[in-house]
Amino acid sequence: MIKKIKTFAFYLSVVLLCIVPVSVFLWMFMTGLKSQADNLSIPPKIFFSPTLNNFKDVFGQGNFTKYLLNSSIVASLSVLVALLFGLPSSYAIAKYRMHKIGLVLLIARMVPFISYLIPWFIVFRSLHLIDTYVALVTTHLIITLPFVIWIMVNFFEGIPASLEEAARVDGCTIFQAFIRILLPSVRNGILTAGILSFIFSWNQFLFSLILSGSSTMTVPVAVFQFISYDEINWGGLAAAASVITIPPLIMTVFIQKYMIKGLTTGAVKG
């Protein structure tokens, strides 16, 4: 009996604990689904007739779809380039234990983004590259490339050296062995590195705030701009916030097993 009560108390506290993160997301979605009148009512309504008007407005009004596309393009490109350069190098770093490179990357992570932003702003301004994908992808690579290398070094260290040797004995060149044998054996790592860097790029605010403009604006900056002149339209703001938050949340589901490992490897190595 006492054991049952204890178990019940434990589950009850776990549920209460989970309400803390969930309630904020729930409040965001609810505010997005409420009419303006419902959002201004005191006490706030828990039961209300949901409306999709705010979401329709977000997508209908101006360029939000374009900004979503911009964010997707910038994030995809900065992930792809990071994987292209990062995968071979992380294999070599793992194989030859070039840990000094890891240390350099750790220090690069400690440098404030603004230290990168000031020089790149000056360069892109004089090259007339402000408000281009080039400027955004270049700066987002500062985040994604070192990150991909950290994670992948860790995953490559986990596969046995005999794997490459066996492939070489079978007559593969090092390049073929890398593409056909080694990469498939670390696909969980590639998935983790790819998705986490996509999320970082998607969420990035500071670089995009300065280096994007009307044609390459990403969604976090667009949402921030809404605040400035639409402070009272909570429904619209919450709907926009929901739309940008949903993709990272969905992606999290796919890498839940590896996400924490992925987020900690860099620091552990240093």
């Binding site: 706030p44 490339l145 996400m259």
Partner: protein
């Protein structure tokens, strides 16, 4: 793989990192010894260490340092203590554990701008849910983001909501990988739960806690998005941390030299804190 492939595999990435990462760092260092008001139309002018010397009697710099310090220490303390306690609490087998872990991953992945926007609404004086709940509990509503005194606690609450889960999950992962024997022999020896936690569990997960603290400290000291979206450093400069002050100096006042010198100070701060933490980690490992 011979030497040729060794460098063939690493060089492209190293060159790219050299361009996108090392070049700006060196440029930043060089620019910090120049005076350059971008809007003037003139180029940078070499002034040596004058930007750094000027900081010494710049009250706004000292204020931003103070804000950075209070905010970082506040978030780090609350998040590490809370995260570790919750990890200890969740460290057992139960149904639905993987769903609970997934739920705690969500704040970590959520876009900081969106999170800050939502918390900004929840802290609203008239309509915010937080003041409404407080009034229902018979408390006075607070000004939160509009009050110079409570703005930093409000920001710490927001940061705690988003990042305690990271500490929780790192420590929990470490707890789950611990061997069971020391715990069983302690049970045999008749130790109570608090003795076990204090003498066995905590020393064993200490490296994970320090790693979690390192990761959080790097980001807490450099916090930008959340403060910029929620308060823009206000009211006045009450929540303006070093990173926001650099941003204003560089991109509102266009003083690139001064902004660069501030950025070097911020980097030094992050570096020193992390060296200290890694010393703690290494002495703990002995």
């Amino acid at each position: 793989m011979d030497g040729k492939t060794k460098y063939g595999f690493t060089l492209p990435a190293l060159i790219l990192i050299g361009i996108i990462v090392l070049f700006p760092i060196i440029y930043n260092l060089f620019m910090s010894m120049n005076s350059w008001f971008v809007a003037s139309g003139k180029g940078p002018e070499w002034i040596g260490l004058k930007n750094y010397i000027n900081l010494l009697d710049n009250p706004r710099f000292w204020n931003s340092l103070k804000v950075t310090f209070i905010f970082s220490l506040g978030t780090l303390t609350v998040e590490v203590v809370l995260g570790t306690m919750l990890a200890l609490f969740l460290n057992r087998e139960f149904k639905g554990k993987s769903i609970v872990k997934l739920i705690f991953l969500f704040p970590i992945a959520a876009t900081p701008v969106a999170v800050s926007l939502i918390w900004g609404m929840m802290f609203n004086y008239d309509l915010g849910i937080i003041n409404i709940i407080m009034q229902n509990l018979g408390m006075e509503p607070l000004l939160w983001l509009a009050s110079p005194k409570i703005v930093i606690p409000a920001l710490i609450i927001t940061d705690t909501w988003q990042w305690t889960p990271l500490i929780l999950l790192i420590v929990l992962a470490s707890l789950e990988s611990l061997p069971t024997d020391p715990f069983e022999s302690a049970k045999v020896d008749g130790a109570n739960i608090f003795q076990v936690i204090y003498h066995i569990t905590l020393p064993l997960v200490r490296p994970a806690i320090v790693v979690a603290a390192m990761i959080r400290s790097i980001d807490a000291i450099k916090t930008f998005d959340m403060i910029y979206v929620m308060t823009q450093g206000g009211p006045d400069v009450a929540s303006e941390n070093l990173n926001l002050y650099i941003f204003q100096t560089g991109f509102s006042y266009f003083r690139m030299g001064a902004a660069s010198s501030l950025a070097i100070v911020l980097f030094t701060l992050v570096l020193v804190i992390n060296i200290l933490l890694s010393v703690i980690r290494k002495t703990g490992a002995k």
